[in-house]
Subunit: 427 residues, 2 copies
């Protein structure tokens, strides 16, 4: 369970560099991982700026952000090509010359030799760092990072390749920031993951808690799960943690089995843990979701302990020929709870599993010949003692309908494993 | 085929507002969709700033960015709750009072009535816009957007809910920006999607084109596909387009079947189109990928025309009991090309499909009892004329191995449908 915590007295800025971030070609995931890593040790990013591969833009941004920050983390633009300008721009911004580092050049040459190619002269720029900078050695790639002081700020410059950036952040930047700055205020957040009710119905279950205590409430809709976000601030981390933990207990009481996890716990992990605890196995029969349920269960390492496998019964005659469903049952259309139940029961037997789960529905757009509207989904579960199913009309477009139906079938499995078979929930 | 194009003479800034973006809880996808929408009509974002839910931060950011921009797009913080401060902050930044709009209030009341709940007074802040602002009506939610002028800049303020933001951007902001500013320089990019070779091997196929002509080359590794990115700049869009199209033809010649698409065309759509054209059907047998191949094929609307379904044969005895593979074949382990071939052939017959494809492998971490190392993947294809398979050692962690194997099996299908059965490729 991750518990993001944040010091709100140290001002930290992040500068990400790259035309590809401004053109929309690439989503900036580095910002998220920097924020999460800093959050884990109690620091909070107060602003994030992105500029393109332009030397004047980078110089201006480094100066403006270091003037108003205690810490500035810069990523991107440390590569060997002509649009990689960050070393040069940072040196210019802090008014220091670039200095040649022989061991970095040797390292670059060795890298190219290992690929059997001559090193282009251009690459030598990766062997130059601003004078007096403290080098952060290359982490798997050819780019070195560095840290230096300017205008009262600690500036850390890291490559844009996510894995290299994360390694250097963990090995050098986070320890340096932690040793220099102490968290004098702390903020803690908890994300209570729920499935089954909409945002407003969910809010109504905790409405008497909102605005009365020291904990802030937020609700985030994530295309399936709805997240209740709690935020507490305290003078120390332990104070903030104490506040949030007592509020979490209160929320858990109200939500009961609607809550399935905390922070980033995925449903498939929770279901996987329950299956393993009970020593049970599962098989899937998927029409609407065409493999998504099986694939999600198998996301978790060691899933082979409880996932037997399943049948993707996409064409209707497969439901008859492979799963052995009676033609009579299918004559009224495949999108019925009775069909989903028969699919779950059949795959359970065919795969010698303790539990079978199944999905059938219409992802849309269009009805695919079914009588029911797009967004109609049936999910079912079969076990030794019987079957259980639900039919719902789901909102959204094709991928969202399939995602929510996948989660709904996993949630049915979770509720069954918890011994709650008839919850009033909306997948 | 999308063709992002960008005017580089109009300065456009984007300001996204929200603590959740700075804490790393949420990745900022709005920036990407704003950049793409503007790119389609020829404009390029030159900087992007994110600040938290703090009134002074927002005021400072609006003033600083409008001073140096022709257009400033602001998103987030237009909701009803106490941490939604953008309307108030923008009014303060541009030194105008907030003005009450009766029809927005009536609209809010109607929204709450339809949910059978009284409207909290707090929501009335959504009925206040800065004096003289041009309203953008709510797009499905309760928040109105608006546009106004300040310090020589056009400021557009939009909700943070992605769908509402996109609707208002398309209906009001893009037309306004296009009518005011003319593209005097244009930049065009093309992303050539490839599968089968690494970045450096791919670069070596076009090395004589790099740095000699007017087109810039870039290479992006996307955990499976490798993208060759071409960028051309011209005085007009048609000039830039002409340059890039002739370069694209040249690249296509070099890459041949390594190239599978352009820009954001997903592999499953390309494969789906080929299957439909030829009137062929496919079935899948998945071990390593546990449903991912079927799920990806079914991402495409109308996939039921060619996807029959498949078997998720996760447990080893399922390969024997359901797919009917000989126990002798499995005795040496399931991660062999012979096993993948037998799975593909069996699912093809069992599901009455023209083509069967299969995956088997070790996602890791750990070997799951197999003799081969984690990352080993076998993919196979069976058709009326025979079978074909590949074994590769894939890089990366569990999810990446499964993703690349999924793409590798779809690429095998693509190459088969194109009549190329024995390509020298590395999945």
């Amino acid at each position: 369970m991750s518990t993001p915590m944040a010091d709100i007295s140290t001002r930290i800025s992040v500068l990400t560099v790259g035309d590809e971030l401004l053109s929309g070609e690439v989503v900036d995931t580095n910002m998220q991982s920097i924020a999460k890593s800093l959050g884990e040790v109690g620091f909070f990013v107060s602003r994030h700026l992105t500029v393109g591969d332009d030397i004047d833009e980078i110089v201006g941004a480094v100066r403006a952000l270091s003037a108003e920050s205690d810490v500035l983390v810069v990523t991107g633009g440390l590569g060997p090509t002509n649009d990689d300008l960050t070393n040069e721009a940072v040196a210019k911004a802090v008014e220091r010359p670039l200095e040649f580092h022989g061991h970095l050049a040797a390292n670059l040459r060795a890298f190219f030799e290992s690929m059997g190619r001559p090193m282009p002269d251009e690459n030598l720029k990766q062997a130059h760092l601003p004078e007096g900078a403290r080098e952060i050695p290359p982490a798997g790639g050819t780019a070195a990072g560095f840290m230096l002081e300017y205008d009262g700020a600690l500036i850390a410059v890291l490559p844009g390749v996510p894995r290299e950036m994360q390694d250097m952040l963990a090995s050098d930047v986070i320890p340096e920031v932690s040793s220099r700055f102490a968290a004098t205020h702390a903020r803690v957040t908890r994300r209570i993951m729920t499935f089954g009710l909409g945002e407003s119905e969910l809010a109504s279950l905790v409405t008497d808690r909102i605005g009365v205590g020291p904990v802030q409430y937020g609700f985030l809709v994530m295309g399936g799960p709805v997240v209740v976000k709690l935020t507490a601030t305290g003078k120390t981390m332990s104070e903030a943690l104490e506040i949030i933990e007592s509020e979490q207990l209160e929320v858990e009481k109200r939500l009961g089995p609607l809550m399935y996890g905390v922070d980033d716990e995925p449903m498939e992990e929770i279901v996987g843990n329950l299956l393993r605890e009970k020593g049970l196995t599962v098989a899937v029969a998927e029409s609407l979701t065409a493999g998504m349920v099986g694939a999600r269960i198998a996301n978790v390492p060691g899933a082979s302990d409880y996932l037997r496998g399943g049948v993707i019964a996409y064409a209707n005659d497969i439901k008859r020929e492979v799963l052995g469903l009676p033609g009579k049952l299918l004559a009224d259309g495949a999108v019925q709870t009775e069909v989903a139940e028969a699919m779950a029961a059949s795959v359970r037997k065919m795969f010698l599993a303790d539990i079978g789960i199944a999905t059938s529905g219409i992802a849309g757009p269009g009805t695919g010949g079914e009588k029911k509207p797009p967004g109609t989904a049936c999910v079912a579960l079969a076990y030794e003692g019987g079957v259980f199913s639900l039919e719902r009309r789901l909102p959204g477009y094709r991928q969202m309908v399939r995602n929510i139906a996948t989660l709904a079938s996993l949630n049915l499995l979770r509720l069954h494993l918890l011994g709650i078979l008839n919850p009033s929930y909306q997948p």
